[in-house]
Amino acid sequence: MTGIMPLDDVRVLDLSRYTSGPFCTRVLGDYGADVIKVEQPGTGDPARALPPFYEDEPGLERSGLFLFLNTNKRSVTLDLKTERGREIALQLAASSQVVIENFAPGTLDRLGLGFDALREVNPAIVLTSISNFGQTGPYRDWQGTDLTLLAMGNMQGYGDPDYEPLKTAGHHATYYPGYVAALATSMGLMSAEFTGEGEHLDISIFETHTHSVDGRLGRLLAYQHNGRLVGRAGMAGAIGSGIFPCADGYFGLNAGAGLVQRMIRMVGREDLLEHPDWSTVAELSRAERAIEFQGILIPWLLERTKEEVRSECERFGVLGGPLNTIDDLFQDQNFQAREFFQEIDHPTTGPVQYPGFHAVLHRDEPMPERQRAPLLGEHTDEVLAELGVEPGEVEALRASGVV
């Protein structure tokens, strides 16, 4: 028994493709929703054609990106451009509480599956749309990718002041708006369940990055306070702050005048704290003091491995962390002890490790096991049968390419 899950009474009709929408429905699936993923017959979600591939060989059932994004979903192939395909989608919407899509704005309306059409068959439906710039406005139809949308959002603050701005790794820039979409959907559901009326939620990828707490939010106010652009000034100027070499790699540290005392103790120089040059916030805020301290800190770091430094940081309450690679992460003692990574079997790859849950419900029953990503159209017969479509018709639809 896995027990009740927050969304186990919710069906999600997932019309989304690529990364942002599938990340959203993956999370809703983790919380127990029945996610029905509609894919184009033959080719499926275009993410099936994106790397990394198992053994580096492309194939519909070999994309690690797709496998990661589509756990806990049922795959139904359906050509939404056909009349019967559209009817079946509307039937699915009638028995769902949520529809998620990330087509270019206007596409859903053109398919005859826009909010008004959905509301006609299901007045309480929550439709969540994720798009580059939102469903309205002068940029509505502009093109975007992870790189260009993050650039417009908050990339200007990421990186070194003497070099170009840096994007976040991989597909973070579209996963994140997908995560926002999951939050929006959860609130839309709360409202729809209270009022009995559905809602259309509009998530703009550009806006989610403009909103981000890290790169943007405080700096937008600070600019209005003092008229200065922050650019890529990091925290590295402050005393005891920056990325420094250690015995087996690099280690990131932060202190500043308010917290450096602990770091001074960590490196065994508590004697300095008695000295007037090192005992006031004003003195410790001076740039030359920060440089002087590096001369003490770096030799100490070079005698210790990342894990030794990390462990000392923990002991002294110093803020810092090792610059790891993904293989370090897999071997990390904390992630191992918590059994974070999950092994999921799949006909192509066999059992491989996936990232675990974002959040865990604390209770006696364990979290439900994740189901592997579906093969293309794996659940077409099952889902159409649930809708009451006769097996004979399913065969005919298959022959004519509708499913």
Binding site: L7, Q143, T168, F194, A337, A359, H362
Partner: protein
């Protein structure tokens, strides 16, 4: 779509009261979303303790701090700290909007009794502190559920409530370094001491925490019982590296220093434009987009260069390609390049700085900004709610609470103390709008 500022109906979380022990950025960003959409968030603070990096880096910074950049703990209005710097910092005054602040000294029996009253009269409690520290203050599921079994409690530790790193204190950037993100995204051409120590995992933690809390509310409705949810910031963020996790677990491959490169696309980078620190991001997904980019950059005749004939060969020669494109962009206005390429349907975006965002016509047309006046920090435009709905959207926002601003309301109306009892709390040093002089 309806204009967001037009709506003033019932918001999804109206009637939900949350006790908020969040600190720094990630936790407060999560409760900001809940507050934006109608929850009553009561921040529990103390005049005897300053939570670092929440209402500024330290309570009473030296004057020169005011001019530091926002991420170095500065960015104060008019470069002045004012009498109460803790009410003037740019981060708190943004994510604190729509929340309330009460001061309470948990190190006393009457402070703990007051917290019990607050828990009795609330639906949820959210915290993102170092687990041993917050537990020492009596904030545990055992206590919270004993006082109010209907509570939804969300805990957001860095690495986990249990496990070897339970007591390992970090900021988001160190946590993210341990997960491998800075090494993945670092500059291909530079040593790792140039790795970006930025913290997208904080925003992700805020969103994940808010989502987990709403899920908890729905779970409570279904089961009739409260519950505790744990959303460790580190575990919340690892899935954002999902494709790298899969490449490692499927193929044993370890990526590093990818910068702005893409596994297949070229061009795919940011290019310098006319002016100081101005950049344009350009990404080409297909041969068709390449042809249209070449049309705009016709002076370069790149379409005739066999090295750039296919996506694969462009990717192979991407350094040479980037250098040619950069020659072209360097003498051009970033906005001209963006508008010109977007007309052709080529993905291009200016790396926008603060003023760009505030003046952006898309954000303006979508009514993105909210003007908020703060009694000690003046009037500014803030980012609006994170999404729009055809249902009820948040209307105007209340300014971030000054320390202890809502003491009377919370003690009397929420906890139900009388005027006399409130006066007792005042005499005992719980109530105040200034940190105790002993607080640094």
């Amino acid at each position: 779509m309806t204009s967001p500022s037009s709506g003033n109906g019932r918001l999804p979380l109206e009637g939900i009261r949350i006790v908020d022990f969040t600190v720094v950025w990630a936790g407060p960003y999560g409760t900001m979303q809940l507050a934006d959409w109608g929850a009553e968030i009561i921040r529990v603070e103390s005049v005897h303790h300053f939570a670092p990096q929440t209402r500024g880096l330290i309570a009473r910074p030296p004057d020169e701090f005011a001019e530091n950049s926002a991420n170095q703990g500065g960015g104060y209005p008019d470069d002045l700290l004012g009498d109460r710097p803790w009410n003037r910092g740019p981060y708190f005054n943004n994510h604190g909007r729509n929340k309330r602040s009460v001061t309470l000294h948990l190190g006393t029996p009457e402070g703990q009794a007051a917290l019990d009253r607050l828990i009795e009269n609330s639906d949820g409690l959210i915290e993102n502190n170092l687990p041993p520290n917050i537990e020492k203050q009596g904030i545990t599921w055992e206590r919270v559920s004993a006082v109010n079994p209907q509570m939804v409690m969300l805990r957001v530790p860095a690495f986990g409530l249990e496990g070897p790193y339970r007591g390992y204190r970090t900021w988001g950037n160190h946590m993210e370094a341990l997960l491998g993100h800075p090494v993945l995204r670092s500059y291909p051409q530079l040593s790792l001491d140039y790795a970006p120590m930025a913290v997208p995992s904080d925003a992700a933690s805020g969103i994940g925490g808010a989502l987990a809390f709403v899920m908890g509310l729905r779970q409570r409705r279904k089961t009739g019982e409260g519950l505790m949810i744990e959303a460790a910031t580190a575990e919340n963020f690892v899935p954002f590296l999902g494709d790298f996790i899969m490449d490692y677990s499927m193929n044993g491959r370890v990526h590093e220093r990818l910068g702005n490169t893409h596994p297949t696309m070229a061009p795919h980078n940011v290019y310098p434009c006319w002016g100081t620190d101005r950049w344009i991001a350009i990404a080409v997904r297909s041969e068709d987009e390449w042809a249209r980019l070449c049309k705009v950059m016709h002076q370069l005749h790149l379409e005739d260069d066999p090295r750039f004939a296919t996506m694969e060969s462009r990717h192979e020669h991407r350094d040479a390609l980037d250098a040619r494109i950069a020659e072209w962009t360097a003498i051009k206005d970033a906005y001209w390049v963006m508008e010109r390429l977007q007309i052709e349907g080529v993905p291009a975006g200016v790396a926008m700085h603060e003023r760009d965002a505030l003046e952006n016509r898309q954000l303006g047309a979508r009514d993105f900004w909210r003007t908020i006046s703060h009694p000690e920090a003046g009037t500014q435009r803030h980012v609006g709610p994170l999404w729009r709905t055809t249902g009820n959207n948040p209307g105007s926002a209340r300014h971030a609470p000054r320390l202890g601003e809502d003491n009377e309301y919370v003690y009397k109306e929420v906890m139900g103390y009388s005027d006399e009892e409130y006066a007792d709390f005042e005499r005992a040093g719980h109530i105040g709008m200034d940190y105790d002089p002993s607080v640094a």
